[in-house]
């Protein structure tokens, strides 16, 4: 894709630090979130109410879990991107729905089954990208078609099965402090992602490979294995998202995951992870996911023509991108 790098010259002076903070994607995303909440409350009172925010966070959690995998793939560079996430979410949802079929006791097996299958699909993506060297965008696009087709074959077009009551409760009903369980799960995932990326050897390898694949190989890092694993993890997280989605909607349908494909990329990018790989993190993606969901719901509640909503959505994306996602100028 692009070989541009965001320039992040460290600035030791306090003034420089203030500038750096203002340019920090996370800060920007948080500011954008605050602005949208304020705007929403102003335009349609009730928008920023506590329980509404909790519901928005629930929706954001689904996107955020899916985007975690996307985040890893993008960080690992090599033009990494996973377009099969949407289809894998659908697949995970259908598999989970079939396995649990409304029975609480079968939730764990359903999760395991969904994750295992999607992990394998993800690994196939990784193998295609590393061993056969198909560009990720094409490999995962092809995988998307294969998974969608496989889903039609697997379910004969009629995905049966539905969510177990406990799972639906986990997603939709308050569990602790008025927050549904899924938010705690997301929090746990955030912690896991941050630890993985900041402290673990795998995280180090992901950044190193994203920054310079060749150099990473020369210091002995298992480049291919890591890349395959990262695609596998992306698949598994998509499968997990699928389980959550079926808990959210109650039953699965073939296209249930489609709406997550491009938003998962956008959440990562407006969260400050460079599509060139090697720089960024998950906290920004969390903020990006929240900002995106917030924007969508803000637009829903505005009394506008459809085209107007779409127009504002696209324009806001570009503005968010322009605020910090600019690439380096050739001449400095």
């Amino acid at each position: 894709m692009s070989n541009g790098m965001t320039s992040d010259t460290a600035a030791p002076s306090p003034a420089g630090r203030a500038v750096a903070l203002l340019r920090d994607p996370l800060t920007l995303a948080l500011v954008a979130i605050a602005v949208m909440l304020g705007l929403g409350e102003l335009l349609s009172p009730g928008f920023a109410r506590g329980d509404q925010i909790v519901r928005l966070l629930t929706v954001a959690a689904l996107l955020g879990i899916a985007a975690a995998g996307q985040n890893l793939v993008i960080l690992a560079g090599g033009a990494g991107i996973d377009l099969s996430i949407g289809a894998l979410i659908s697949f995970g949802a259908v598999v989970a729905g079939n396995v649990m079929n409304g029975v609480d006791a079968a939730i764990l097996p359903a999760i395991l089954a969904a994750i295992a299958v999607t992990f394998l699909f993800g690994c196939v993506n990784g193998i295609g990208v590393t061993l056969i060297r198909i560009p990720p965008i094409v490999m995962t696009l092809g995988m998307m078609a294969v998974v969608q087709g496989g889903l039609v074959v697997f379910s004969q077009g009629i995905p049966s099965g539905n969510a177990a009551p406990a799972l639906m409760q986990f997603i939709n009903q308050p569990a602790l402090f008025g927050l549904p369980g899924v938010l705690f799960a997301w929090l746990a995932l955030c912690l896991a992602m941050v630890i993985l990326l900041k402290r673990s050897a795998l995280g180090f390898a992901i950044y190193a490979i994203g920054a310079n694949e060749r150099a990473a190989g020369l210091v002995g890092l298992p480049v291919r294995a890591v890349r395959i694993l990262v695609f596998g993890l992306s698949g598994a997280l998509a499968g997990l998202t699928g389980v959550m989605v079926i808990g959210y909607t109650g039953n699965s349908f073939i296209s249930v995951g489609d709406q997550y494909m491009l938003p998962s990329i956008i959440a990562v990018v407006i969260g400050g992870t460079s599509l060139a790989g090697g720089s960024g993190g998950y906290i920004g993606t969390v903020a990006g996911a929240i900002a995106l969901v917030l924007l969508q719901s803000l637009l829903t509640t505005l009394h506008l023509e459809v085209w107007g909503r779409q127009f504002i959505f696209g324009a806001t994306l570009l503005v968010l991108l322009a605020m910090y996602g600019r690439q380096q100028a050739p001449r400095v």
Binding site: V152, S160, N251, F253, S255
Partner: protein, 317 residues
């Protein structure tokens, strides 16, 4: 006699479509009892209008006797249908109306479909209250006809206020999300007019907000939704767009291929080429009866209705 009929479907995202194709295949097989072999070939994939034109071209090039299509666009097929007709191929659209004068439409009137449920909602609310509407894909013909339908009805009820209209693209999860947002912004809501494919999601949001007894909303004709509807005692009503429309179209097609002539003046609709099928309605009154019909069927099963060959022959001379 042996007839070869092509079935074209441009979207595989819902069970309703699958049921539609399966019922059509079953109807074709049933003709064997009457001594007529009906061979069907199916093309079903996620394609845009242009991709679906490709499907039709393949049928034309292959030389089928008739094409039955659930078209992705009302107008984009005019030239290719003209070509098909020129080659003596019978073209019948179903589920989504097409403007071509070279095709006929056998299916429900989507405007009427929307008007029925809108009327039900208005009357359930005694002609008074705040409502919101949740629609499918903006710009999609079926969606636009439905929107026109409910607008016309609500215009007759001055005390019914449509506070907002949103699109959730015929996706349950989006329907649920949109409903959540609308519930948050409009605390004083009495009614929701929502299309099928999203209504179950919207109802889930309504139930999660603890408002299932305060709000009346349109529903779905899927068995699993009707079960919830019944168990939770919801106030709902649903116009039925039966998946059997394609089977009905197929039965009409076979009769036509057998050489029968349509009666005069049976075509109507916006484009003057439509045979509208009756639109059943599910409400709290007949819900138990419909659930009984669904006994033994899987959860995704939709209330259906098919025009039998005997019923269909009423359209012919």
């Amino acid at each position: 006699d042996t007839f070869k009929i092509g079935l074209s479907n441009g979207w595989v995202g819902s069970e309703w479509r699958t049921q539609m194709i399966e019922e059509a295949q079953a109807a074709a097989a049933a003709w064997a009892d009457a001594g007529t072999t009906v061979e069907v070939v199916v093309q079903s994939a996620n394609v845009d209008a242009q991709g679906q034109i490709g499907q039709v071209r393949n049928f034309v090039n292959q030389g089928v006797d008739a094409i039955i299509i659930n078209a992705n666009s009302p107008t984009a097929f005019n030239p290719i249908f003209a070509q098909a007709k020129a080659k003596g191929i019978l073209v019948i659209a179903t589920d989504a109306e097409v403007s071509s004068k070279d095709a006929i439409y056998v299916g429900i009137d989507h405007k009427e479909w929307a008007m029925q449920s809108a009327k039900w909602l208005a009357e359930t609310l005694h002609g008074k209250g705040n409502i919101v509407a949740i629609n499918g894909v903006a710009g999609h013909p079926a969606n636009e006809m439905r929107v026109a339908g409910y607008k016309e009805v609500f215009a007759d009820y001055p005390d019914i206020k449509v506070l907002n209209e949103a699109n959730a693209n015929w996706d349950q999860a989006q329907g649920q999300q949109v409903m959540q947002n609308l519930l948050a912004t409009y605390p004083d809501l009495q009614g929701v007019w929502v299309q099928d494919g999203m209504a179950a999601g919207a109802w889930r949001a309504i139930m999660a907000a603890g408002k299932k007894n305060d709000i009346a909303a349109t529903g779905e004709i899927r068995k699993d939704f009707m079960t919830v509807w019944n168990d939770e005692g919801l106030t709902s009503g649903a116009s039925v767009n039966p998946p059997g429309v394609m089977a009905s179209a197929l039965n009409v097609a076979v009769l036509k291929l057998q050489g029968k002539e349509f009666k005069d003046g049976i075509f109507g609709g916006t484009y003057g080429n439509a045979i509208y099928l009756p639109i059943p309605f599910v409400s709290n009154e007949n819900l138990t009866e419909k659930l009984a019909e669904a006994e033994g069927k899987p959860g995704y099963w939709s209330v259906t209705a098919t025009l039998s060959p005997e019923d269909a022959s009423a359209f012919f001379k």
